[in-house]
């Protein structure tokens, strides 16, 4: 820790800048100066699938502030973007694709532009070097407990689909980087499913890894060759007793889970939420995730429906002015009963007294 970092993180400076905090002053001078918050400057944007007619994929190289504590292979980071034209900051999670990083070290995100995803579309299509992003620290426990520095005989299996390749790519890259003489230090089977050869990202790197003598066996499947227990059994008969990391769309993960059997401790999974589509009526169910309750949607305000379900959420004015009842909606669409505006953003703070669910909806209550 440098002297500057020690001063910036000191209790005295925190007391002097109370209640706003040091970062509220530093950011006015330079967005890359921070005491506790993490931000990053985009230093490079590289298109990964230029020949594909499907959604574009790009790798963004990020130079974080010194406050970045580094990441373990397989973790993700929350990325906040001030979308131009709207002044609204949206925050989404993305897996880190580069090998494990140390504090303050560069890392990469590899992102597919989803048609409904405002953040992914912006990052892939519009982000340019110099763009500043707001980050969280690395999060998640979809990580490798082993290091290539301590070789062993136990095989690792990595299964991924589409852009779910990013966290397992980080794991593979970390093993090869940290291992002696470019070897993973243990047998690794890397299985990946992509829509087509044109959509395949990291194709050259994966081909080189497969060709090299490094303990890694890469198996890539395109188009119709989708995942099945039979396919996996042919590749690796003992798969269900192999430490496995699987990441991809929810559909793939369902199949992998079935293949490994209920609650198989060898299997770790990570999957993307499928975007929900509004049905436009008082149908579906409202889920109160903290209470673990779910009730059929009556079309009334979420506050009223929660109270109807026996919950006692905090509230004030009950007319949308005081913000006492603000709660996080994790999934689904809600309509603001005052403006009629509908919103399907995931992880959005809403005033539950003036929001009614449109179809399925999940709220942290």
């Amino acid at each position: 820790m440098t002297v500057t970092e020690r001063i910036l993180g000191s209790r005295t400076l925190a007391a002097l800048t109370s209640p706003h905090g040091v970062d509220r002053y530093l950011e006015l001078v330079n967005p890359m100066w921070a005491a506790t918050e993490v931000r990053a400057r985009v230093s490079d944007v590289h298109r990964e699938n230029p020949r594909s007619d499907g959604p574009e994929v790009a790798t963004l190289t990020l130079q974080p502030t010194h406050t970045w504590r580094g990441h373990r292979a397989g973790q993700y980071v929350q990325v906040g973007v001030d979308l131009p034209g709207s002044a609204r900051r949206l925050t989404r999670c993305f897996s880190i694709s580069s090998a494990a990083s140390r504090p303050g070290e560069e890392f990469t995100l590899t992102i597919r532009a989803h048609e409904e995803g405002q953040v992914s579309k912006f990052l892939v299509r519009d982000a340019r070097p110099g763009q500043v992003l707001h980050l969280s620290q690395a999060e998640g426990d979809f990580t490798l407990p082993v290091s290539a520095a301590t070789p062993g005989p136990h095989r690792l299996l990595m299964i991924s689909g589409g852009s779910g390749i990013t966290p397992v790519m980080s794991q593979l890259r970390t093993l090869l980087r940290d291992g002696y003489d470019g070897r993973a230090g243990r047998p690794v089977t890397f299985v990946h499913f992509a829509r087509s050869a044109e959509d395949q990202i990291f194709a050259d790197e994966l081909a080189a890894i497969d060709a090299a003598d490094n303990d890694v066996d890469v198996r890539i499947f395109h188009g119709d060759s989708t995942f099945s227990a039979d396919l996996l059994g042919r590749l690796l008969p003992s798969y269900s007793r192999t430490d496995t990391w699987a990441c991809g769309p929810a559909g793939l993960i369902e199949l992998v889970r079935d293949a490994f059997g209920e609650d198989n401790p060898r299997l770790r999974v990570e999957f993307f939420k499928a975007p929900t589509v509004a049905s436009g009526s008082a149908e579906g169910a409202v889920t109160f995730s903290r209470a673990g309750a779910s009730v059929p949607n009556t079309g009334a305000s979420i506050l009223e429906q929660a109270e109807g379900a026996g919950l006692t959420p905090e509230f004030g004015c009950r007319m949308g002015i005081c913000f006492s009842c603000t709660s996080r909606k994790t999934e689904g669409t809600v309509r603001n009963v005052l403006t009629g505006e509908e919103s399907s953003q995931p992880d959005e703070d809403i005033r539950i007294c003036v929001s009614s669910p449109v179809g399925d909806c999940s709220v942290e209550l």
Binding site: S86, A87, L338, D349
Partner: protein
Amino acid sequence: MTTQQNGRLTREQLDAFGEELDAIRQRIIADLGEKDAAYIRGILKRQRQLEVAGRALMYLPPAWPLAVAALSLSKILDNMEIGHNVMHGQYDWMGDPALNSRMFDWDNVCPGEQWKYSHNYIHHTFTNILGKDRDIGYGILRMDEDQKWHPYYLGNPVYAFLLMVFFEWGVAMHDLEVENIVNGTRKLEENRALHAGIMRKVRRQALKDYLLFPALTGPLFPLTLAGNATANLVRNIWAFNIIFCGHFPAGVETFTEEECQDETGPDGKPTESRGHWYYRQILGSANITGGRLFHILSGNLSHQIEHHLFPDIPARRYPEVAAEVREICERYGLAYNTGPLRKQLGSVARKIFRLALPDAVRGRTTPREQEHVVEPAAAA
């Protein structure tokens, strides 16, 4: 000041009136964007610059008045155009944690968390309803005819002066509802958690302004301490005066709970219609006229009427909707209470002195007040 007889509005009129105001609200919300974001970030930047300048100038004894001026302006901007408005949730739509009502706290001994409850919920929902809105006289003063006189109120002007000087402390103590503890309707234990929160915030504020920054200036410790205290005092006086002009000038009306219940709620209990809520906000608030800088320094609370109609819309939008609101008031025959600062302040001061005396001594009502006797609006 515009004064006119506030007519009764019929059920239909109240509904139409409410719809017109809802339409303004929706139009502004749909238009929120980069200009609003740039504005509040600009004000924030200016406030931080003034604060840093104020702290730095304390090292130059001849520049002491300048240092105090910069720090006072910083605290005024921080509390009013930034703190008050951000904590109203006016900028929550931006998704920036630094401008989020749930994260923000102000440079003031009152913890933002507690202020939001008594202000955003109690005061803004029950504005000027006697017995419900604790901002009528703040439990200390007699600011309305319908508050029963008591010999205690002979001290009205003295209490008001003390509240002005110690305003941030008054705001911090407000949530403790001391008056309700005295009259036995609130238990001391209910205050325990609030008390801990206030003490934590007081310690932080005092440590910064009265120990650390003075100590950093070494031999100038007493001068810096005096400078910081003066800046807090200036902010107190300014905030008190602006805020007292918001609801206490002559002509501003108060309401009883019953006369606000003009509708039957879904649970079968009497409740207030949206139109009547708007109606009450307009008649219960008063504006102050002035220039652009004055409006910014008042946190745009000089547009108290517009603020009470649309408390969650960025305050910079109030001036642009004021003409429209005023025109609507004229059409419905409602008083739109506005005037320059000296006039509104004079009116508030007269009220503070007048209401100190028992009703029998000064005569029950002056003709002007009679004009504003509250009539049950659309009670039928």
